[in-house]
Symmetry: C2
Subunit: 249 residues, 2 copies
């Protein structure tokens, strides 16, 4: 069985092109290596309603949801409020987060700092290996910060809990163009419904015109589809890489 | 009035991390420079149902929708079928596209080539400045290819039709941390509801701790919010850039 995930990137600054998006690419690569199939990435504004609707839909559809951004102390940080609204609960101050802030800030603690302790009511804290500020988790939703270096550290500290059976992938590098091999791919895809067959044209390589990938969770089925492709495409194949497991680095 | 857009990136190869996503970042930057506000990016699989639901929702909500990917000749290219299903129509061969293919391919024309002429019934062709293969447009949905170099060329050839009033943006570079300025930003944001105030922490700069952006479509309102921020933040400001129009390069 596939373990699935959705990613929700929250931030006007991404949609307006002011900052390049880095977190989706990082999460896609890591979840892939963990064996988790990401079925959707959404990039949405700092808007309470939109966050609520988008995150609630993802939480209902996928095993895990990861959000990025909108968790700071300023007026445009509305992720906690959005998730609370979408999940039909309210925002509350988490006593453990308040405690961490108080012990860190002492007398310098302000209203703005206290916003950092807000969570959707019912959220739990997931303490990762790095021992610092925990990740806030509401049901199957993991609420991560938007700053890329911090998101990477937080995710890495808890990622072992998402590890599942690996993907297996094989590749066939083809010297003929997509229209010439389409019927063969079609036929192999239909005969091997549990294996994903992808076809990707290359424009920058004089020898390899198309890369065909064969992938899935069952190594025997992936191997069978890979062998079928080898027979079908025959002399059009420039070279190939037999199926191997995709594993964490 | 804001002109809005949604972007739908279609492709298993992006979600599986096999290929880096380049088209969303390109479209976000270009639409921004054209004055168009992008309100959502979705990255979804090569799945007829998901494409239909996602694109139909975006077409109903936004002025323009741009899709990328899934328009080649192989079994995993299902964007046209997905959009047709979502928009309650069917796929048909467009006679002008068939004509272009026939004149180009002659006797070498195959079933796979003919798939390239499939469009949702009722689609129109938008011929750009580059004079080659047109962009297929169904109502407010522009259907672009996934290969980044081709997408960039196709979009550039038709982008003048999306040009609208520019965004104005000013920046204030602040030497204090977000919690120290949060109350000021909050107050200015509330007093200037038509101006977007964004606050972005920097971790890599010893001097500038937060970048605050002030933006909107009305230059006078943006200037007023920018001035108010200047007064509020006072000595915390390291430097600032007065509001200027964002224009195409």
């Amino acid at each position: 069985m596939d373990v699935t995930a959705g990613i929700v990137i929250i931030g006007d600054e991404i949609l307006s092109g002011k900052f390049a998006e880095e977190n989706a690419a990082f999460l896609l690569a890591r979840l892939r290596a963990l064996g988790v199939r990401v079925k959707r990435v959404a990039i949405i504004p700092d808007d309470v309603e939109d966050i609520g609707v988008t995150v609630a839909a993802a939480a209902a559809r996928f095993d895990h949801v990861f959000t990025s951004g909108g968790v700071g102390p300023t007026h445009d940080d509305v992720t906690m409020a959005g998730i609370a609204r979408g999940m039909k609960t309210q925002v509350t101050i988490h006593p453990v987060l308040e405690e961490i802030l108080t012990s860190h800030m002492g007398d310098r603690m302000t209203e703005a700092h206290l916003r950092l302790a807000q969570v959707p009511e019912g959220a739990i804290l997931v303490h990762g290996k790095d021992g610092a500020w925990p990740v806030v988790c509401f049901r199957n939703i993991y609420i991560l910060p938007g700053v890329p270096s911090i998101l990477r550290r937080k995710f890495s500290s808890i990622e072992s809990r998402f590890l599942t059976a690996p993907f297996w992938i094989g590749r066939v590098f083809v010297g003929a163009d997509e229209t010439a091999v389409a019927a063969h791919l079609d036929s192999v895809a239909h005969a091997h419904p549990e294996v994903g067959i992808g076809s990707y044209p290359r424009l920058d390589d004089p020898e390899v015109v198309v890369i065909v990938t064969v992938e899935g969770k069952d190594p025997d089925k992936v191997q069978a589809a890979f062998s079928a492709l080898g027979q079908r495409l025959g002399e059009a194949i420039v070279r190939s890489e037999p199926p191997a497991a995709v594993t964490p680095p």
